[in-house]
Amino acid sequence: MKVKTSMTEPGRFFEKLVKAYAKDLYRVAYWLSKDRHVAEDLVQETFSRAWKSIDKLKDEHAAKAWLMTILRRENARRFEKKQPEWLEIEDALLEGDARYQPTAKMEQQQLYQAMMKLDMEFKEPLVMQVIWGFSGEEIARELGLKLATVNTRLFRARQQLKQALSPNDERVENTGERS
């Protein structure tokens, strides 16, 4: 979504940022934290910090990367005081959401659980690509990795998810570069 920048009115600009990015940022936070309440706290904290430094922001594209950087930093802070992790179950999958018929529902549940269990090094670039819409280059910049490494991780993330769903599927060996 495009956000028209109006730096003369930071309040309005902030509001537009929230409207444009809060939902997807929550989804990213959720997949990183695996907890709804932690995800909301992370998003609230991210926007609080963004608000306090809103004058630093120059344009929309910078905003997207900027919010992601703040969110990741806030998420990293959680691990300074390590807490046990819980695996949540998506309510829609448990409560018979009309979107999911029994078979499809089971497959979606498997995929959901596989996502939950995916190692952070693979999950993080995947979430940035699928939810946040970052390109490989943008992910590489955010994570401080080489593009080839990001591509390898994206490939392996999807490969692992597919394997979790269909363990007998043919496996394509990873020959991607490493940083």
């Binding site: 309040g11 809060a22 929550y26 998003v43 608000w51 306090k52 430094s53 829609a92 490939f155 999807r158």
Partner: protein, 274 residues
């Protein structure tokens, strides 16, 4: 001229970003049309992945963020990293939100829009003054009086429940009283100092006290009551709102608009209905 992709490289690139086929991949597909089936399968898998990743976002999240930060002034010089002398006078004299016209009005608007989201479309606002004789308004006025009388009675007979260290319920009792009014307590309500059953207008309900910054706020939930509109009142020194939710009404009563907005945000962040 670049080398032609082999099957392994093609598949790797496909899994790196299934929604974007670069020129080399397109050329590979032209030569190997049988691989279109693979592309189709991986794209279908990607669709499922996108669906799973699009988890539901809590109701009113955006409004809560805006509401919360509306009360936090911009720490102009400290947060921007700029020298205060480089800023305009307006930067230093006002917060950014107050610079835009009528922040308080905007705050009220955000709170209202949050509620609109909350009750899923079957709530809409209309001023009560338009036609004071409708049944809905009479019901609202009746509820208003009953709730205010109940709070005044409590203040006289049980002043301790408005105190910060009011009597506590166990988790089990807490969930039970919320369940009774058709609500689910998803997580502790910020600043809640008391929760218990009560009886308003001959009907059993839930009575909560939140210790907001400017003083205690009472929230009363009455199940099986309905109101077609959100209703605001100002009576006997109390400011209040009666908010219809799924299967109940929620009355929030305090002294100031800010208290009501904050209490509303804290309550609906933790409690869902239906």
């Amino acid at each position: 001229m670049s080398l032609e992709l082999d099957e392994l490289s093609f598949r790797q690139r496909l899994l790196q970003n299934p929604m974007t086929l670069d020129d080399e991949m397109k050329r590979y597909l032209e030569k190997h049309p049988e691989k279109l089936e693979t592309v189709k399968k991986i794209k279908a898998f990607e669709d499922r992945l996108v669906e799973v990743m699009q988890i539901e976002v809590p109701e009113g999240l955006q409004d809560r963020i805006i509401l919360k930060n509306g009360f936090e002034p911009l720490e102009a010089s400290a947060s921007t990293g700029r020298n205060p002398s480089e800023m305009n006078a307006s930067d230093l004299s006002e917060s950014a939100f107050s610079r835009s016209d009528g922040w308080w009005n905007r705050l009220a608007m955000f709170a209202a829009s949050f509620l609109v989201v909350l009750i899923g479309g079957w709530l809409w606002f209309q001023p009560l003054a338009v036609d004071p004789t409708t049944a809905v308004q009479q019901e609202a006025l009746h509820m208003e009086s009953a709730v205010v009388d109940h709070i005044i009675a409590h203040a006289k007979e049980q002043p301790e429940i408005m105190a910060k260290d009011g009597p506590e319920l166990t988790d089990k009792e807490l969930h039970k009283v919320f369940k009774y009014v058709g609500a689910t307590l998803n997580k502790p309500i910020d600043f809640m100092s008391y929760a218990g059953g009560c009886e308003v207008d001959g009907q059993k309900g839930l009575h909560i006290v939140l210790q907001e910054e400017e003083g205690p706020v009472t929230i009363i939930v009455l199940p099986h009551r309905q109101l077609g509109v959100m209703y605001s009142f100002n009576q006997k020194g109390f400011k209040g709102q009666i908010i219809p939710v799924k299967g109940a009404v929620v009355a929030i009563v305090g002294q100031t608009d800010k208290q009501l907005a904050m209490a509303q945000m804290h309550f609906f962040k933790s409690v869902t209905f239906g």
